[in-house]
Amino acid sequence: MSLSDARRSLAFRRARGVLADIGRFAVMLATTYLGLIAVTFFIGRVVPVDPVLAIVGDRAPMAVVERIREEMGFNLPLWQQFLIYLRQALTGDFGISVLTTHPVMEDIIRVFPATLELATVGTLIGAGLGVPLGVLAAVRRGSIADQVVRIVGLIGYSVPIFWLGLLSLLLFYAKLKWVAYPGRLDVAYEYTFTPITGLYLVDAAWTGQWDVLWDAFRHIILPGALLGYFSLAYISRMTRSFMLNELGQEYIVAARAKGLSERRIIWVHALRNAAVPLTTVVALSYAGLLEGSVLTETVFSWPGIGLYITNSLQNADMNAVLGGTIVIGTVFIAINLLSDLLYRMLDPRTHAK
């Protein structure tokens, strides 16, 4: 068999491996998603004693209760209710929000870009600082720098993020006046600026409104930095661990014996190998930030999906809560599976079967 044949058959095997992976992931995605919907159904319909009373309140007349019970299909057997619920959830119909009187899905589409923007800024900060810090800690293992990175990370794991948010607002907004007050934009821009994608930083730069861009930046930098610190703690720790693993390998000894510079060994040889599991870590922390923004958004009045869910919670708006839960759960599952898939594609060793 010639070399090109061997190469072609290898490429074929690899493609088939990826296809099989995708098939397996599709099955996993389907069952996990079904589980997600089943659990939210359970939370919304089975746990409350009477979901109708939860909607109309316990002072409504009996006739109204019965009418709504029939309108909403709560008089049907539970399995039929579940099938209806499943069909609605799959078509993105989560009902009407009691609080905003809009369909829940419409609300979520409106608020989701805010969360996405915040989580993206957070991940960029977290990965941009966390990876170099982790590499530094691994290379200078046991040094003062290593200890400092470790302590900074440990505090990031241990600090209540909403409390840190409040204190940082007190310091940077109220006392130093470095950043803007909670929210996404100043009131002055709130009515003149029409977003295109909903990601204000992108929109403002796209349309060349530099004053808006600066204002949006002054609003996002503090919550973004907080979320970034949160993910930095995780990313730097994992980077350190992966790098220590790689630096102990024999190919590093070989590279040193060849006389390569230490910088090249660390940043090119070792980091490139550590980068494969790191992509998964960064993806997971991104998914974590989408979720973790619930508390941050509450503190910074950031009109994203987290604030939407907590506002709905406080007003017993169950449709909105469950719809938001399903949407965040969907994004979470999708990122998890994608990162898994990415890992398999990046690491050639997982194809050898």
Partner: protein
């Protein structure tokens, strides 16, 4: 060498570290001693242990330590006093309650939440993981599917949704957090089980006629315990933060309970002028969850030297 009749410190050490223990008890004590030596070398880990011990003592003797009541304040004379006011070391809140006393009593709530979640979630995860790993086949596939579904959920959001359905309150917060905490334990226990299920000692017990239930409970579960304990300890910081987050959103402990997260929420209104009301409980949360993290890190390094320093 037998156990020395007049044990000196050095004699005891030799007895503990001997390579040929005479009894099971001696071997176990020796293992524990080695682990403890490795653990106590780690200054950060010992700090973590001390923090947790202090927390437990404070919670146990709250009634003796607290200078004031945690729920009844001096509305007329002591509203929003700054830290350092005589009699109110950490200041008072808007209802004239001593913040230090509230923190001291709040340690009971924090400890109770952590302990209850651990007591509910860890055994559930252990049981599911060991059974799945030992049984294999369809049982394994089904149990792990369920585990993955729960694992795929964003934790805080799921806990929020549960509390929304169950109604706010500390008990429901505990249930919600426990429901979202067990899957990693199941995964861990399954991995450990797969590591030992084909080993010779399991085959030997099976030949002696032990039932599967006995094998799982007596011979597999103990092998999973040390890594499970490490994982639970490391998770405790996360549990504290989730409980505090729920309290902050008004879904955890309800007033007038001195729960630390709820205290931060109530101090939020005065953060600009009376910063201490929200700051003090946050420091308490930070110290305690830092303690659990340090302790968990130290335990992992001591129990699993392969992973030390990672």
């Amino acid at each position: 060498m037998t156990a020395p009749s007049t044990p000196s410190a050095a004699g005891w050490r030799d007895w503990l570290l001997t390579a040929e223990p005479r009894s099971r008890g001696q071997a176990r004590l020796g293992r524990a001693y080695v682990t403890w030596r490795r653990f106590s070398e780690n200054r950060l880990a010992v700090t973590g242990l001390l923090i947790i011990l202090v927390l437990v003592l404070v919670a146990a003797f709250a009634a003796f330590l607290a200078p004031h009541s945690a729920t009844v304040g001096d509305l007329a004379g002591a509203r929003l006093k700054p830290p350092g006011t005589p009699g109110f070391l950490l200041g008072t809140d808007d209802l004239g309650r001593d913040i230090l006393s509230r923190l001291i009593y709040g340690s009971r709530i924090t400890l109770a939440v952590v302990a209850l979640v651990a007591v509910i979630a860890a055994p559930v995860g252990l049981l599911i993981g060991t059974v799945a790993g030992f049984a294999g086949g369809y049982i394994d596939a089904a149990l792990m599917r369920v585990t993955d579904i729960f694992l795929a959920f964003p934790k805080l959001i799921l806990a929020l949704a549960f509390v929304a359905a169950l109604g706010p309150g500390i008990e429901n917060a505990v249930i919600a957090i426990a429901l979202t905490s067990w899957p990693p334990y199941a995964r861990l226990a399954r991995a450990e089980t797969l590591g030992v299920r084909n080993s010779d000692y399991i085959a030997a017990v099976r030949l002696m006629g032990a039932s599967p239930a006995r094998i799982v409970v007596r011979h597999i579960m103990p092998m999973c315990l040390s890594s499970l304990i490490v994982r639970v300890t490391l998770d405790m910081a996360g549990i504290i933060l989730t409980a505090a987050g729920l309290g902050f959103l008004g879904l955890g402990a309800q007033p007038p309970l001195p729960e630390w997260g709820a205290m931060i929420a109530s101090g939020r209104r005065f953060i600009l002028d009376q910063w201490w009301v929200a700051t003090m409980p946050g420091i308490a949360i930070l110290i305690v969850s830092l303690g659990f993290n340090l302790l968990g890190d130290g335990l992992r390094d001591a129990l699993d030297p392969r992973e030390a320093g990672r």
